[in-house]
Amino acid sequence: MGHIDPSLVDWSRAQFALTALYHWIFVPLTLGLTFIVAIMETIYVKTSDEWWKKTTRFWMGLLAINFAIGLATGIIMEFEFGTNWSNYSWIVGDIFGAPLAIEGIMAFFMESTFFAVMFFGWDKVSKRFHLLSTWLVAIGSNLSALWILVANGWMQHPVGMRFNPDTARNEMVSFWDVLFNPNAYTKFLHTISSGYVLASLFVIGVSSWYLLRKREIKFAKRSIVVAASFGLLVSLFNLTTGDDSARQIAVDQPMKLAAMEGLYEGKPGAEIVAFGILNPDKKLRDSTDPFLFKVAIPEGLSLLSYHRLDAYVPGIHQLVDGSKEHNILSVAEKMKRGRKAVEALAAYKVAQKAGDKEAMKQALATFRHYSAYLGYGYLKNPEQAVPPVATTFYAFHTMVGLGTWFILLFFLILYAAITDRLQKLRWLLWAGVISLPLGYVAQEAGWITAEVGRQPWAIQDMLPVGMATSNLSTSPVMLTFWLFAILFTALLIAEVKIMTAQIKIGPKEHDHV
């Protein structure tokens, strides 16, 4: 095997992270705004009030801008799979290919038909058919996200597959296990509902700006009532899906959970940190307090992770060094077993070349016995199994803190809107405007938690990122990293400029996209 420069792995990861984070600026707004637009159009069809039609068309215009600028930004990740992550792509191809192919076909048919009716069909098709198209766009966009998150969920918790040592590929043995992977559907529900929260913040932010400028009063108030009602409902749903997702992480990825909470020493009745500052001098296995400061809720982590106040939650030390009492294997032991799996795979190939069927059978049996630990066979030391704790901890707490604020914001804004005090509470309107960028921060923080927290794995326990990369020179990866940085920044500037120009024009002049 050729030598892989560690900087290549880091640049490949940085490039993928850059692409995914920029892509995720555009996607969640589309996921959520399609539903808000569908709700507004439903009110229009029910009431025949032309104000609602105007309102719907304005937000639909902003949706079109976001959709057009964001379109195909995700395709770059597929380029990167084939070039920078060719080993990974080969190994997962059959599993990853099916959900992504379904997503591509669905997106094409949905976008070329119902999107066209939604934007071109006003006054050309019946009101009800237009409304149906708008709802189908909303549902279809979200179903597209399902397939992407099924693929991502599989990487976090690989199920429904079997590794074929003859082809070096994972082959799907149960489509339903892949589709109904608990890690996938909890992630799907949490992710799309976070998109709905962002879209609600978007509508509230823009509408609050109008109210602060004493413009478009009726339009802004109506939009706020819809967005705050929708936002409050979906943020409560987001809270429950977040709880489900965290419980799934406790089962499938306990190291990620420990990093999310900065939990080094496991214990029954583990507390949850509401707010904390990590001690940067903390090292694995030393006795330094991991926190310089923290506000914690006693037994909260045990309760949220296992729904029991006294449940034991393993810490990073127990997950690295093992715990007989709690039946946790050390990483060192997993590495031994992983190496046995690697050796058995090598023995299988040797026996295959020699035509020794008995030896092949024995090697395959040994491989199957240890294959659950395969990825550990590629780690150099147990410490490599620990993800970046500070990044994971702060990203998680940023997401949760902002999510909590958004629930309060939706409640306050809805209450103020219903009691007709919104225009008097300028601080609340400013809070609405400022919370819009915070919604994006929460979105990105969620992805950082999910993806940094699962390091060092490209596929959990099966393939570390160092084994997933292609053997390339680092220079082209660095070059394309900066190319993408420039391209995406240009797209983001275009999005902001076109969007703000349309917002300044306002709904009155916004009859055609």
Binding site: M1, I4, V9, G61, A64, I65, A68, I69, L71, A72, I75, I76, F79, E80, G82, T83, S86, N87, S89, W90, I91, A116, F119, F120, G121, K124, P165, D166, T167, A168, R169, V342, L345, A346, K349, G377, Y378, L379, K380, G466, M467, S470, L472, P476, L479, T480, L483, L487, L491, A494, I498, Q502, H512, V513
Partner: protein, 74 residues
């Protein structure tokens, strides 16, 4: 007659839709430039499919990946 008029109706629907666009024309331009940059410049110049380029069949690809997987940690 109906069979011929339906495609015509669909064509007219799209044609009128595109023709009446205002902001949409600028958005389509951005989409077109972006797709050109992504597929023609970036994909062709910088993102070859490594497995397709370096090997001529799946057996070779499998052997390569298996060698990677069985020759130890990086």
């Amino acid at each position: 007659m109906k069979i011929r008029s339906l495609p015509r109706k669909i064509f007219d629907f799209y044609q009128e839709g595109f023709a009446s666009m205002r902001l949409g024309k600028k958005l389509w331009l951005i989409v077109a430039v972006k797709l050109f940059v992504l597929y023609v410049v970036i994909k062709l110049l910088f993102f070859p499919d490594v497995m397709q380029e370096q090997f001529s069949n799946d057996t070779q690809r499998s052997d390569f990946v298996l060698r990677q997987l069985t020759q130890g940690a990086r």
